[in-house]
Symmetry: C2
Subunit: 351 residues, 2 copies
Amino acid sequence: MTDALAPSALAMVPFVSVDDMLKLVNAIGPARMMAEIADYIEADFKRWEQFDKTPRVAAHSDEGVIELMPTSDGETYGFKYVNGHPANMARGFQTVTAFGVLARVDNGYPVLLSEMTILTALRTAATSAMAAGHLAPKDAKTMAMIGNGAQCEFQALAFREVLGIETVRLFDIDGAATEKAARNLADSGLRVVSCATPEEAVTSAEIITTCTADKQYATILTDNMVGTGVHINAIGGDCPGKTELHRDILLRSDIFVEYPPQTRIEGEIQQLDADHPVTELWRVVVGQQTGRASADQITLFDSVGFATEDFSALRYVRDQLEGQGCYQLLDMLADPDDPRDLFGMVMRAAG
Amino acid sequence: MTDALAPSALAMVPFVSVDDMLKLVNAIGPARMMAEIADYIEADFKRWEQFDKTPRVAAHSDEGVIELMPTSDGETYGFKYVNGHPANMARGFQTVTAFGVLARVDNGYPVLLSEMTILTALRTAATSAMAAGHLAPKDAKTMAMIGNGAQCEFQALAFREVLGIETVRLFDIDGAATEKAARNLADSGLRVVSCATPEEAVTSAEIITTCTADKQYATILTDNMVGTGVHINAIGGDCPGKTELHRDILLRSDIFVEYPPQTRIEGEIQQLDADHPVTELWRVVVGQQTGRASADQITLFDSVGFATEDFSALRYVRDQLEGQGCYQLLDMLADPDDPRDLFGMVMRAAG
């Protein structure tokens, strides 16, 4: 996208609809697409210091939260709109829906609008898998999945593709969710074990992923369920007042986070003192700090989701547009012949 | 929009494109539409305390700024994406482009996506006119317009419609801009006087509107140009480092602002001490404080644009959708039959 393009072309913004995204995911394959997005996310973690970073801008209500997550690498600006409404599922709505935008920093013009409900599911699992590549025990083969909602299968597939996980052990307080996930993963190449209790699910698992949706302080994992050497991938503790792990687990773990100012408010570590030591994941990715240092260490990725991950996922989608053709052009930017003559544009449209 | 709608209908978001907006503006008529938007803006200023208010979230670069402006009244959430790139005009781009979203607070689902380049022009002029209704001299008939760029004709028409202004006196350092504005306003019912100097433009004007686009501290008005009893509608001083009025004018004026925490950073009053007294416009609108108190008072509306004004404008557009039909439905929200089964939706799309 260069200035050589006529302004009238810049007035049109490529839009990736839900239907387009479904086509894109299936054209590439969900597992491969998550692995490729994980590479984009890792590449952006490697240039972490280039990004404008800010905690998300959240509007909380009794029912849930609506958030804007902006960031910029100085050349491209991106933001995501995302809601989180735990009560939605019971009413037939998605807990999380999202869309996102990329724009040029030099002139402020949007260059991509994309659905991000599906893309957020992909990037969340891609982020988890990328982080686990640095933190989980080498040659981990079994992952426990506590919480078998919308994110579950994406996590399972991403961990298979990126880490070589062979077995997933599913548990959900709602057996129907477990059945759904097991059905969807039946032909995934993973061995799927449906479990009756969380204790059963974590048995023999080197990686424990928690991904439940209650908006409250919950204890999905108790201290005695977490053995030495395990990597915990904690996804569901992602807003103030919402956590999944017993505090004692945190105290035994080495904790890795995306962006401390946001995670202190939203993550599992909201249960800890504000100065409790944590390691920024990007420092591990660039090699400044150690990820997993020993076989009996408990590593915890306290993931809340950060704006750069959405940025990376949107960058990935933008890079697929030309090859895959999964988009339409939206007439989103007013583009008069003379930029000062916006009113003339209105008058001429009257014919 | 109620929960009785099937979720599949909620997956579709009404989108008002630039073309749709042009049709809408011309169907209603730009002057009438600005007067109606002014009523919506005033209605929302009257319930100011219901709104979540926050300074906009700005990403500054050498070339300009990209901003997100969110707000919520507890029932509906809205935000605007807007850029401001003063160098754009010389490159053939709009200085300001924008789009906006309304969403339901109770479930987080977007209910409107709209272009806002044109809508921002309308709401900015509507806000100015609404404020002037409370602050300008009664029976003002003449307005000086310093800066004849994209906002100029909208201001002139809104002031004609809402306040009964009969004459506009135009000045711009670029005579071509003045010619453009005069041409566009030729059949507007306004008497249009093109002036060679700013001093000539302000002669006999009861209202002075400044609306220039330089991203710097500028002195569009000097102290000796502003006589007693005038209302100044200062639009262009709207980001850090960008002002239009000499500081001495501010010291002689009673200053009215939208949202002090934002205006202190972005408005003309960034030139003043942080505790310089200002009046919040909403307090005048609800009658808590006096607007214009005497005939020789200089009133200054130090307008930077606030999120509630965009919210009001989006509310207005949403209320026109059904009657005017100026929208298309975008497939923006993933909506699986079972909200937990997002992955199943991806699989089924593969066919």
